[in-house]
Amino acid sequence: MSSVLYDVPGPKARRISLIGSVIGSLLILGLLAWIIMVLAQQGIFESRRWQIFTRTDVWRLLGNGLGATLSAAALSAVIAFPLGLALCLLRIADSPIIRIPVRVVLEFLRGMPVVLMMLFVLLGFGTSPFIAVVTGLVLYNAAVFAEIIRAGIQSLPKGQREAGLAIGLTSYRSRMLIELPQAIRRMMPSLVAQMVVLLKDTSLGYIVAYGELLRAVQVMADFLGNAYLFPVFFVAAAIYIAINIAVSRLAVWIERRGSKKAAGGTAKAEPATVEAGAP
């Protein structure tokens, strides 16, 4: 990205920047090396501790945990997205009788910690941990999706809706046919970021004893003994980061493919306005 924020650096600036970069990189590498050394001194990288990963039952447990994480996340996303869409349409409805109560509900859902909602569903309605986790995630993320899509619709030029109404579309059809498709495309980065948040939030299922990845790791560390705490947590962190980065990348790829096809009609894509996602 050759930026508009600064002039193209001259030879001197480039040299300074290069030297700075090298020193900075060395410092960071040095810090990492020091961390690894200190941890190694405490025996955390002893092969004995990592040998558990040669056992199939360890991987099976991790696999089950991962399966539980992905199934809860997938189901929640599949329900939360259309629900968020519907809530968004109600939230910007013309009639205040619909708009205002929906706004109150959204405010409430956004303001409650997800852990609390999960616990509440589990205890209040006597559901299984899986249902509690999914419900908690759906309620919260639907509210966030609704907000993101709303922000997308509001960032559209007014003319879009006016033109829709002018050619005789009803308010609802203008939203569905003209505004939503543009808003969703525009907010894709935020929506994907929120999907990743949703995936990560499955780890809050520990509160209702849902056996997702992190819980599986915790249980495993408890069972095997504290010596294995660090190895299993490092592996879990690596799995999470890999999956989440893969999801983000996949979304970027899908978006690129989509926008190439759509590029014919639209003008040059504007940069995404603002992100409304919430961690």
């Binding site: 600064y6 920047s17 609390l116 907000e147 992190l214 999470y240 980061i241 603002v274 961690p279």
Partner: protein, 216 residues
Amino acid sequence: MDVIIENLPLYWEGFLRTLFLSAVSGVIALVLGTLLAAARVSPVAALRGFSMVYVEVLRNTPLTIAFFFAAIVLPRLGVKFEQFEIAAIIALSTYTAAFIAEAVRSGVNSVPVGQAEAARSIGMGFGQVLSLIILPQALRTVIPPLINILIALVKNSSVAGAFFVLELFGYGRQLANANGDAVITVLLGTAFFYLLLTVPLGILASTVERKVAIAR
């Protein structure tokens, strides 16, 4: 209902702890996040790279794992702290900073190109362009999403309850265990105190949003 009234002091203590964690982490995350966003658009390649890696890794890590590193791995490295609040603040602020950096960066991108070009044409350097021209405009448009991130931060602080800090959610669980006959009421009480923090923030966000929209 009696359970809530009887235990109001405990709720209040938890509420204050949650408020403290959120406020301190929020301020640190705002500063750190803005610096990261500035690094991301800076001319120095290493800074851009560092900022990108930081944001990518932290955004894709579950908060629980961030807490694990702050509360359990750091002490192993010799970073000892008397108060576990410090670990919680480290985890919450480094995690939240990644989200703030992304929001601020998209705000920077939303400022019309002409602004930066005009600033440069009158001889401003990168630091001046960013701090005097771009950021003031960018921050205004990203205030609503920033507040949303802060709302999430308030709620995320509940994870600290599992990592050695007794905050609102921790008190809620303690009360739930002590009052097996009124678990639901206890949880409703906890929810109320969270909403006391998050709903005003949400209303603030939409008010600011409306103001900014008018000013545009």
